[in-house]
């Protein structure tokens, strides 16, 4: 029973992946995302240099050449290596932040939508307050107060994204809780916990997966923006936004220093957005 169920869900997942082929846009998105995930995983193998080592000879001619394909930065560090290792930063911080935000946001959304009444009121009031801050203001306050670090960036993203996710899950819970299979589960005497996590949440997954994918893109932008504004990860470890910040003033002389990291972050975010669009298209079809 359990075996065949697992097999069934695997084949359904495969069916979805195959469906993605029918959406060329979604496929391009998926390829871009997979490309960067592979780059991040194999960074130690494919990176031509240590991202923090300085090649002092390259300082004279920092542009792209046969040794340093993407050129070097003002400290003689290889830009290709820094772009490659920078993908690791983004692809660890963003998934962790989005996953935790989803855990918190889903739980709160389920509680608010299922119990309604004062629980709903309380959760909504607190969310309204957080959401009344423009995101960038909240990021600036949190990072200024607690200092720039990977953990603080993750916490800031969670703080801002959880109420937004809560609203989506709450809306879907309000709708789903009226379905017959929920009434049936109640009749069987299932616990509230079971109903929320086994009956409601899996049935809300379609829009949530699309949202999660889009949110990965937003979070990637947020991490890049924080880096660009000087509120990101402390040096020397590479992050794409920080690389642009360090070299932007020299754009007119050495454009390659800003262009490569800017292109890297753009391709990853475009990948997430196109993938989300492809999945939305497919989920609307069935």
């Amino acid at each position: 029973m359990a075996m065949s169920e697992t097999a069934g869900s695997i084949s359904r997942t495969w069916a979805r992946v195959r469906l993605l082929r029918e959406s060329p846009v979604g496929m391009i998105g998926a390829l871009l995302v997979v490309f960067w995930v592979l780059v991040a995983i194999f960074a130690p193998i494919i990176s031509p240099f240590d991202p923090n080592s300085n090649d002092m000879d390259a300082l004279i001619e920092p542009g792209p050449n046969a040794i340093h394909w993407f050129g070097t930065d003002m400290q003689g560090r290889d830009i290709l290596a820094r772009v490659i290792w920078g993908s690791r930063t983004v692809l660890t911080v963003a998934p962790v932040a989005v996953a935790v935000a989803y855990a918190i946001g889903s739980l709160l959304g389920l509680l608010a939508g299922y119990y309604r009444g004062w629980v709903d009121n309380l959760i909504n009031r607190v969310s309204d307050i957080i959401l009344s801050f423009p995101a960038i203001v909240l990021y600036i306050i949190v990072i200024m107060r607690f200092g720039p670090s990977a953990l603080n960036i993750i916490l800031a993203v969670i703080f801002i994204a959880s109420p937004q996710i809560m609203r989506i899950v709450r809306g879907m819970t309000l709708e789903l809780r009226e379905r017959e299979y929920i009434a049936a589960a109640k009749m069987r005497g299932e616990s509230t916990f079971y109903i929320m996590f086994v009956e409601i949440l899996p049935n809300a997954r379609g829009p949530l997966i699309v949202d999660a994918c889009l949110r990965m893109g937003y979070t990637t932008i947020a991490i890049g923006v924080l880096g660009f504004l000087g509120l990101g990860l402390p040096p020397p470890d590479p992050d794409w936004g920080g690389m642009v910040k360090d070299s932007y003033a020299l754009m007119s002389i050495f454009p390659h220093m800003s262009l490569f990291p800017a292109a890297a972050i753009t391709s990853l975010v475009v990948g997430f957005s196109l993938l989300a669009d492809g999945m939305r298209e497919i989920s609307m079809r069935d």
Partner: protein, 346 residues
């Protein structure tokens, strides 16, 4: 309608009170750090205590919050050193009898900026004015363009034009502002040399101010456009499936008339709120654009003051940003009600 408005107004006051308490608490909960920052890490505890007393920082946090807000009179004392009156509201050069009792945010006293070395009031309004110029220009370009593109895409769902506009808007929204700044600058500043790479709003820089504004406006529009286009498109697609559109087509109206006279108006109701909320993004979201182009605006002020731990300026700017955001939300709700008769009369 009025009841709704009053309810929203009450919730605005409530939100602003909580937000002000949060913004205050975020920085003022541990005033000991202030003393350490001023006196350096090698000061003695005794020195720090004395400075805290002089600055009025030794009192409970809620008292300081209400004074900062301006609902409690500012603290007043007599200086132990020279017997002169000191206190929160005492300013050098202002005689004791003219010193106000209350001097908080509600009285328009936003504090002293440690970064700009002047009262926050003297800097924040100029900066807001500059951002308003940038934001209104971007808004003036973005709104007609997004409506045009959204309507063109949504009037024939699934057409080539629709797919092209939709995918293009997904892509442009996915380019971070600093990255599109880099791309546009490498084309128009470095490659073609048509535009300046910075916008200090200073004609002495060799470029007319109108040209300085082109790239910042372009980056904002590029980033913001796609989202609004997709909202307009979705609404248009929805309207096009309604029976009255089919009736209009079947009774022999030209497609042009169906779109312009029947669909357009109804398709604009839902995106109205979305468009209004973009004001919110324009005021604060411009932080990045202003940083890219060295534009002397509100967002850059917020960023610079945050980077140099200028608490008074960050507090004032955050409060203002939240106020704008909450007000645009209420305006959006009200506008939505006025546009939609079904809600207006129920």
């Amino acid at each position: 309608m009025l009841a709704f408005f009053l309810k929203r107004l009450a919730s605005l006051v409530f939100t602003m009170l909580v937000v002000s308490a949060l913004v205050f608490a975020a920085f003022e909960f541990t005033p000991g750090q202030v003393a350490t920052k001023v006196l350096g890490p090698f000061s003695t505890q005794d020195q720090r205590d004395r400075l805290m007393e002089e600055l009025g920082l030794n009192r409970p946090v809620y008292e300081r919050y209400f004074e900062w807000l301006g609902v409690l009179p500012g603290w007043a004392a007599t200086s132990a050193a020279d017997g002169k009156p000191t206190g929160r509201c005492v300013k050098p050069g202002v005689p004791a009898e003219e010193t106000p009792r209350f001097c908080g945010v509600l009285q328009g006293e936003l504090g002293y900026s440690t970064l700009y070395k002047m009262p926050v009031n003297d800097i924040i309004w100029d900066r807001l004015g500059n951002t308003l110029i940038l934001a209104s220009l971007a808004f003036a370009v973005m709104v007609p363009l997004s409506i045009l593109l959204g309507i063109s895409a949504g009037m024939r769902e699934g057409s080539k034009l629709d797919r092209t506009i939709s995918v293009a808007s997904i892509v442009t929204t996915s380019v971070p502002e600093f990255a599109s700044g880099v791309f546009l600058a490498s084309i128009f500043v470095i490659g073609l040399g048509w535009l300046p790479g910075t916008a200090p709003l200073d004609a002495g820089a060799g470029w007319p101010i109108a040209l300085q504004l082109v790239l910042p406006v372009a980056v904002i529009v590029l980033y913001d456009l796609g989202y609004v286009v997709r909202m307009v498109r979705a609404s248009m697609v929805e309207v096009m499936t309604r029976p009255y559109i089919r009736t209009a087509i079947l009774k022999g109206l030209t497609f042009r008339d169906v779109i312009l006279k029947h669909a357009l108006r109804n398709a604009m109701i839902a995106p109205f709120t979305v468009i209004l909320l973009q004001i919110n993004y324009m005021i604060t979201g411009v932080v990045v654009v202003e940083a890219v182009f060295a534009y002397p605006g509100f967002g850059r002020m917020l960023l610079d003051s945050a980077l140099s731990q200028d608490v008074a300026t960050v507090q004032a700017a955050s409060l203002f940003a939240v106020l704008v955001s909450v007000c645009t939300q209420i305006a959006g709700d009200l506008g939505y009600m006025m546009l939609n008769p079904r809600i207006r009369f129920s």
